[in-house]
Symmetry: C2
Subunit: 277 residues, 2 copies
């Protein structure tokens, strides 16, 4: 196991770099690195295939989260004990737990992500999703329901932002994730693989999700929180699907719609699974 | 229409009281008052039956949200133009829009809330829900799906907190809401009304929600984010219901579970509605 080093200065260059990674998506993607904060989330990272370059913790955190720290240590390439004031500098929360992992963004292979067209399943694609808490929640729900993977299309918020990681509760480390610059760029490969695409729209003339059946290779495409899907994306999908509602439909938020749509995709499979058991 | 008064001092006693209402649930409930922030949400309040005691706005906000301010003015008993520094004092957000309503908590009658046992429908009850954003989201989803009302049991976070109001997007002003000190206290009245209660539990031996049908008088009871329902509440419900999942079930958060459970309660009604149309 690597030796523990000690950093107490907020002016330490490496600490400044880590703080930069916490604040800036650009820096994260330029370096392929991101920061995980909190005992539970750091352990989730350590237990996954995500490469943990360093574990940083305060003495207080080591005491409070001893079993966490012990387990994470074994996966970390570098161990660093930091002062509370350094912890504050690299934290994204108001009351930092004082435990962090510096991680490298995993390659598809490290994430056990198959080439999608070869891997049947029900996928969720999100287009231009802006709110990191929504993105995290959607990933978390996708993992719970057994969605095969999540695809980020266009200009989504950063998958590796502290807020998205926190809302995702570790789903980011385990769920197959794909990135594509746009629906148009991704579509040909999906078609080649035999995937059917469903555009989620709040339109009365779209097919109610309760009337649809989802083939083994399905992709549900949901849009931006305020504006929904791009017109060309809706046009490019095989089907338009909507959630029929008896109440005030405009009230359903992006994460709640995504939950219901993913649930409906998995509903038949869940029932078959129960009948088998 | 009342005349516009001007307040620029952060030491103004009334402003200090309003600021207290923003920060403290205790003060809100002692006085039966709460504060709504943001143009959209203030308009939602003004359009509802909620009594608007005062509208407060900065000059900048009046310019930027002119049509909102005009509509809200007509409902407000008092109009007050405030300085940006006063707006900061009574704001719960980092970048205040500079528009606020001081409101009185509506009575059940003002909210058009019927005595529950007389009013069939599918209700959601939440027990000891702690996170105001979750509570707001749940109310917002309930309204969208056409849930008849939301019941807060036990020690829930404050329904009128700025965070809950924000996440609820105005659902708090429109949705029938009931408060009860505990499940045990509420149960006799529900029974008298002929309601069937469903305890949402993450248990493999509970009935899968996909196998259940919900009678016209149903109450789904969901628990605290971390600990779920109280043992005595589960025991007191007629049925135990669970969401069958193919993935990592522990990953589903409270708001997502509530969305799926409410959706399943309304699913049959939605399909019947479509067949009628």
């Amino acid at each position: 196991m690597p030796e523990t080093t000690y950093i107490t200065s907020r002016k330490n260059e490496w600490i400044k770099e880590i703080s930069g990674l916490v604040r800036s998506a650009e820096k994260r993607h330029a370096q392929g690195l991101f920061v995980v904060e909190g005992a539970r989330l750091c352990l989730d990272a350590a237990r996954s295939q995500v490469p943990v370059l360093a574990l940083l913790f305060t003495e207080q955190a080591e005491e409070k989260y001893r079993t966490y720290v012990q387990q994470i240590r074994e996966k970390a390439q570098q161990i660093c004990c930091i002062s509370p004031s350094v912890a504050e500098l690299i934290s994204d929360t108001r009351s930092p737990q004082g435990i962090f992992c510096l991680c490298r963004m995993p390659t598809g292979e490290e994430r056990n992500t198959p080439k999608m067209p070869d891997c049947p399943g029900k996928y969720l694609a999100v287009e231009n999703m802006q709110d990191p808490a929504n993105l995290g929640t959607v990933c978390r729900t996708a993992e719970a329901l057994g969605i095969a993977g999540v695809i980020l299309l266009g200009e989504c918020c950063d998958f590796y932002s502290p807020k998205a990681l926190r809302a995702g509760m570790g789903a980011a480390f385990r769920l197959p994730v794909f990135f594509s610059s746009s629906f148009a760029a991704a579509k040909p490969e999906w078609e080649k693989g035999g995937f059917v695409t469903f555009a989620a729209v709040p339109a009365r003339d779209a097919q109610p999700v309760t009337h649809l059946s989802f083939p083994e290779k399905s992709i549900m495409v949901i849009g931006n929180e305020g504006n929904g899907l791009l017109t060309e994306t809706i046009a490019g999908c095989e089907k338009r699907v909507t959630i029929p509602m008896l109440g005030r439909a405009e009230s359903l938020n992006a994460a709640a719609s995504a939950s219901i749509l993913m649930w409906e995709m998995m509903r038949t499979a869940v029932q078959e699974d129960e009948n088998d058991g």
